[in-house]
Amino acid sequence: MISFKMPSLGADMEDGTLAEWRKQPGDKLTRGEIIADVETQKGLIEIEFFGEGILEKHLVSEGQKVPVGTVIALINQEDESEESPVVEIPPSSWEAPIPSSEKLSVSESKVSTPVRASVERIKISPLAKKMAEVNQVDVSVIQGTGPEGAIVKEDIERFLSSREKPEVTPPSSKIEIPEQSRPSVPHHESIRMAVAAAMSRSHREIPQYYLEKRVDMSKALDWLKEANKERPIQKRLLPVALLIKAVAKALDEVPDLNAVWENGLQRMNEIHIGFVVSLRSGGIMVPAILNADVKTVDEIMETLNDLIPRTRAFKLRSSELSQSTFTITNMGDGGADKVFGIVYPPQVGIVGFGEIREEAVVEQGMIGIRPVMDVTLAADHRATDGLIGGKFLAALNKHLQNPESL
């Protein structure tokens, strides 16, 4: 039995009105026979049947208008079991040669080199510049937060409000550090203040929920061991590089967590993973590993090797501090089994990795010793719910169980 549908005769045909049934139940249908007339925007069109069979039943009555794809009749198809004889069709007088399967390589896409910023120049958007002139602001004392560290409207506004009320610490959503060019500012104090401001804001504004999952790290560690065999010492991978990559991939699958909460949830297009670095002088800074989802584990490791020393030496560019879209805090060998982060506004989630340790694990009724790690997620409940958070941890676990695909 086949379902005969209102045919689609063009993308611009949405429905048709069954004007007349030309075939009745019990009628035999041969190939190409007109089964019905259908009224369309373009006029009456004959609807043909492309097979053979017997009309079983009309499902749509005359005058009824139905959308394309609606079953309008049932048709009983006869069994065509008889064997057709075989014939060999003689070839034409010439046969074109089989085209050589020439290998076509994708042409290298032309990547235009980004315009290099001139080093000493202060970048400022045209609007910010105008505002600075009107308000007689010396832009050289302002830290830009726009693309490439440029000074944008908000920076001027922030500066102006702090100038008006100098006794109040300006609410800051960013942990800002002074640039090395201004060494007179004491680093640790300003960093402490910035951490305090950001964490206070988080606590004040963000209703957070917490989830936790234990992850078996044996596959990941085995993979690292194998991978490191072929690598020279300076290129060896640490577990954290793998964790960053796994987080980036999981965010790709659960994009609601790669977002900011600013007048509602706004997903970010790129995945920049902020990585909490503890400073020797106290305080923390969170440099970003840009586009971690498209970097290889090796590239992430390289980035870390570059970023961490520079962070501790206060040699970061401000853009490296302002771009992260999600944060990781990692205990490493720090001793704690679990770490519950505090969401870093305006981001909506932070994942915490506890120390990897050996635990007794029950698997298929057997007890074994496995390296495990407790992973936590703190997330902004305004932006997402526990279901999303759970999905994220599940995705993260999945990636860590398949380290070879990272």
């Binding site: 076509l104 032309k110 235009s112 080199t113 980004p114 315009v115 290099r116 910023a117 001139s118 120049r121 970048k123 400022i124 958007s125 045209p126 726009g146 693309p147 490439e148 440029a150």
Partner: protein, 328 residues
């Protein structure tokens, strides 16, 4: 480096065609009046006598027909140079250029390619009135699949055709009739040129003049005048209008932080619109001033000399605009 030689823009164009004909017997020139008449602008004068009617083909006034035939011959392995007498008549061949030359490679999944070169005389400034004074460069530059080149210097008049004839894809070559008698110097051994990148024709640090075609000499002249008043401007010759090469002008803007784009074509939806957008997209934070443009006034180009001159940017217009930008 061989000695410099002086020659006109016309002589440079002609010597390139001649060299191409001598070098490759698949090359032939077809166009209205290219043979017996000697070329509407005398660019091909004498070539019929030298190469004969099979290589220098006069064609009837059938722009769509002969341009399509050039495309067909390219499909079948020839290297035609199609001359459309002026860009004004190219409208009659647009279907062939846009629907055939530009699409066949992509639409056939890379099975065929169209190595045709289509030259056309362009430009404003000879009192030819509205129907013979069009600047359609932006139309062509709009279409993916074409390589669109603008011949703004003697060096390019000598070299661009030779390079275009090595391209596997259709090349549109704009030649400027008002420059034909202009003398310039090129190295005696000048030949093929790069046809992928724009070129800095004059270095400067205060402002980038970005232009093509007849704008190149106008901007260079303006730059000389400005230099006398202490303003150091850079002149960027875009040369390649499609695929538009942006690194050169973006780097220039990153250096000077100021840009003025100059072209004869009407301002709306023009090459300058595109260049300005790219600067905005990719060098926004390098800008110290809004990008400005000097373009054709949006009227059908009139016949009287004073009105025609007023319709397109002149050297003095460039000078005063730059001054206004640099010393407000």
């Amino acid at each position: 480096m061989s000695q410099e030689i002086r020659l006109t823009y016309r002589e440079a164009l002609k010597s390139a065609i001649r060299e191409a004909l001598l070098k490759d017997e698949k090359v032939f020139l077809m166009g209205e009046d290219v043979g017996h008449y000697g070329g509407a602008f005398a660019v091909s004068k004498g070539l019929l006598q030298e190469f004969g009617p099979d290589r220098i083909m006069d064609v009837p006034l059938s722009e769509s027909g002969f341009t399509g035939a050039g495309i067909g011959a390219a499909l079948a392995g020839m290297r035609p140079i199609v001359e459309i007498m002026t860009i004004n008549f190219s409208l009659l061949a647009m279907d062939q250029i846009f629907n055939n030359a530009a699409t066949l490679s992509h639409m056939s999944g890379g099975q065929v390619n169209v190595p045709v070169v289509i030259r056309m005389g362009c430009g404003i400034g000879r009192q030819l009135a509205a129907q013979h004074s069009h600047s359609w460069e932006p139309f062509f530059a709009h279409v993916p699949g074409l390589i669109v080149l603008s011949v703004g210097t003697h060096e390019d008049a000598r070299g661009m055709l030779l390079s275009a004839l090595e391209s596997p894809d259709p090349v549109i070559l704009f030649e400027y009739t008002s420059m034909l008698n202009l003398e310039g110097s090129i190295p005696g051994d000048a030949g093929k040129v790069d046809i992928q990148k724009a070129k800095i024709r004059r270095e400067g640090k205060d402002l980038s003049l970005i232009t093509y075609g007849t704008g190149v000499y106008k901007c260079l002249e303006a730059a000389d005048l400005l230099a006398k008043e202490g303003m150091d401007v850079e002149v960027v010759d875009l040369r390649v209008l499609r695929p538009l090469e942006e690194d050169t002008f973006l780097q220039s803007v990153a250096k000077t932080h100021r840009a003025l784009i100059v072209e004869d074509a009407w301002k709306s939806v023009s090459i300058s619109s595109e260049v300005s957008s790219r600067i905005m997209e990719k060098a926004f934070f390098e800008l110290d001033l809004p990008v400005e443009r000097l373009c054709g006034v949006e009227v059908p180009i009139p016949y009287p000399k004073h009105l025609e001159d007023a319709s397109v940017p002149q050297v003095q217009d460039i000078v005063s605009r730059v001054k206004k930008m640099l010393k407000p």
